[in-house]
Every structure is written in C-alpha cells, then in structure tokens.
Symmetry: C2
Subunit: 212 residues, 2 copies
DNA sequence: TAGATTGTTAATCGATTAACAATC
DNA sequence: TAGATTGTTAATCGATTAACAATC
C-alpha cells in the first residue's frame, strides 16, 4: 500500500495546507520549479524540514531543479484527499452558520455543501444563495439519504453535545466544531475544533508579555 | 520581574486557553479543588505535562489537594492578560465580519469591540447590534483616536495586504487575520491567523487516510 | 499516621536541523 | 565540468513523561 494512505503524523498534516497555500499563489507564474530553500523563505519552515516532509510521501523533487510547482500542488491535493468527494452540511444558521454558507473554500477541497439546518421557524425555508435552510427535524434523515460525511456545528453551546450525538448516530464521520465546547465523540469520529476565540487568547497573552 | 511577563514558550501558550476552557466549566461546581490527574482526563494532556506547564508560572497547587479551581482560573486569566483592556475593530463587514460582531467572547478576554469598517456604501451607516458600520476612509483616524490594539481582518484577499499595512501604519499592534492570505507584517506586529479552511484540509486528509 | 498529590529532576521520546553523498 | 539541489542519515535540540522526594 502507498505511503500516502498510511498514518501521516499529525505534525506533518498541519504543515500540508500551508505548503499548499503558498504554492497556489505561484501556480500562474512563469517559473516552473521551486527549491525547498525558496519555499522555506515563503513558509518560514526550514528547507530541511520541507524536504523531509515531502519525502515522507515520495520523491517529488528533481535534483538541481527543485520541485515542479504544478506537480507538487497535484500531489499535495491527492495526499490531502481533495479529489475524494465529501458531502457537508452546516448545522445552525445563526450569523456564523450563514457566514460559512458563503465560504469559498469547499469546492477546491472536494467538499459539496448539501444543506443548512436550524430550529428557528423564522429561518426555516429561507434561502442563502441557493441553499435552503431546513428544519433540524429533517437533519438525521437528510444525513442518511444524502450520505453526509462532515457536519459543521454552529449551534448554541447548550445543544452542541446533543446535536453532535444525533449527527454521529445518523452517520457523519467528522465534525467541524465551532461551538467552543469540548465535545465528547467516539474515537472513530473525526473532530476538528475551530475555536475562534483561542486566537484572541493568544493575542491577549502576547500583548501582555510585550507590555509587562 | 515576574515569570509571568517573560517569554512564555509558544507551546505552553497554546495549551493555556484549553486549561481555561475546561476549568470554566467546573467553576460553579461544589468541588473546590481539581487534581492534575482529573484535569488530564478532561483535556487529554498528561498530568505530568499539566503540572509542568502550571509550575512554569508559579506554585498554584496545594500538595495532596490539587489546584483551587477558582484561583487557577484567576491566575490563568492574569497570565493570558484578560484583565488588560484591549480595543478591537473589525475590518470588512461581509458575512464573516458580521458574524464576528456577534461573537460573545470579547468581554471575558478583555477586548472591547469599538468599530466595524467596510467600503461598501450600502453597508456604511448600518448598525449591527449597537455597532455602526463606518467607511474604511475613517479607519486610520479611528485607530489613532480610539487607540485600537487589534484589528480583525475579514476583507477580500485582494486588499488584505494593503489593508494590513494601513492598519499597522495607523498603530494597531496585532492582526487577527481571517483572509487566508499569507500576510507579511513587521516582526513587532502580532499576527494571529485564523485560517478556517485549514480545518477542512485536515478533515479531508484524515478521511482520505481512513478509506484508502 | 497513611494516602494523596504537588513540583521538579532525570530519562525518554520525538521532531528538527546539519551535513553530505547522489545526481541532474 | 561546475554548480545546484534533492533525499536521507546522523547529530542536535526540545518537549514530554516517568519517577519520586517533599509535604499537606
């Protein structure tokens, strides 16, 4: 079996989107190749680390040239599974949920936004772009019928755990959690926590250091 | 000078909000003390690591009892500088910017949301809760006059770098960046990147591993 | 006192970097 | 050929864990 499908160390996984982001900016440039040294300059990681990370997945580089930007983007895309189609729903159509409907990042990463759910009758039936807000009552059936893989969770804290359990029961394999609650999920379920306010904590912490 | 104000290792800073989050949930419980072992269970970090992290800042524990939950929360709050007041603006009143206006996490961490800015004339003058959307034309003066410390950046990618430069020029000391652009900022400026779609990358990556 | 749990040291583990042979 | 740059090994660095004396 290909190295790509084995258990990639988390520490490498975290850097892959960063390599990807920087390479994408270079895609339309005249230059075809990029050296690990140049990529190091862009990302802030050492060239040594970059070569090591990439060599984990295969020999993508060409000695004395560097890495073909287009090919490397393709490879990263495959490694991160962007070519594997995934169905997504958003649960909670409050301000954050609505903002997520308009996020432009889904398609490129292989996600298809299939639905948005809320329990507020005033919201149910409304359209956000071409996505209809549905009742949470329909959520579980929808997950089963539409083979939803991932649910973005933007519900109030109080119902976060219960909603997560319903979603898992219905068959989602991953939760993209925005609720700032420490969800308990079985360990075969993927949990990606997007704790927005942690950013504020870190900034506060660092401001405090600078001025004491 | 107090240890608290020295350069806290980043790896510790990252765990502080997590300790804080879990302790806050216990604040109103009958139990006064928590052991590192119990906190380990909640956070997933080892008790050894937790004791080591906390001892970096002082001796907050009490042998054979554990840590006083209330006191520890207070200490963490001080370490992270939540008692230090900070002024915040949001630049870009699109869907995400609007969602951030409604975020409930500011006050507790010492932030005061002072303003929201956009360049769209249709939005300028509107109110989101009690916050008026102002023109970006006013932004720089506002930053100076209101002594803004941090700007949340939710503008389109194309104007991200330029807007960041204006903000820094005007005097902000930190940028809370939601633009998914690799901003270049001087190294005395704090940059906290909230790259929302990286969560989707990681989820995609892990789904791909599981099913290959 | 016996049991519990901290704070800290030493041992271990894992991640990063330096260095360089291979080779384009 | 000389110069550039990869892929990989060994050395280093840093973070985590194990263990335990101190002590409540």
């Amino acid at each position: 079996m290909d190295k790509r499908s084995e258990n990639i160390p988390n520490i490498i996984i975290r850097r892959l989107p960063i390599y990807y982001k920087h390479l994408k900016k270079l895609k339309n440039r005249a230059k075809e190749y990029i050296s690990s040294e140049e990529l190091a300059e862009l990302t802030g990681f050492s060239s040594s680390l970059i070569r090591k990370d990439l060599s984990y997945f295969g020999n993508f580089g060409r000695k004395s040239y560097g890495y073909d930007i287009y090919c490397l983007l393709q490879e990263l895309s495959i490694i991160m599974g962007f070519n594997h189609p995934k169905n997504l729903i958003i649960v909670g159509a409050g301000h954050l949920g609505q903002a997520l409907v308009h996020n432009k990042g889904y398609e490129e990463r292989g996600y298809k936004l299939k639905g948005v759910f809320d329990k507020n009758p005033k919201l149910i039936g409304l359209f956000l772009d071409d996505i209809k807000i549905r009742s949470v009552e329909e959520m579980c059936d929808f997950v089963k019928e539409e083979k939803i893989d991932i649910a973005a969770l933007t519900v109030p804290k109080g119902v976060a755990q219960k909603t997560a359990e319903l979603l898992i029961e219905a068959g989602v394999i991953g939760i993209w959690d925005f609720t700032e609650v420490a969800l308990k999920v079985p360990n075969n379920i993927l949990l990606e926590e997007q704790h927005i306010n942690e950013g504020l904590c870190k900034l506060s912490c660092k401001i405090n250091q600078n001025f004491n």
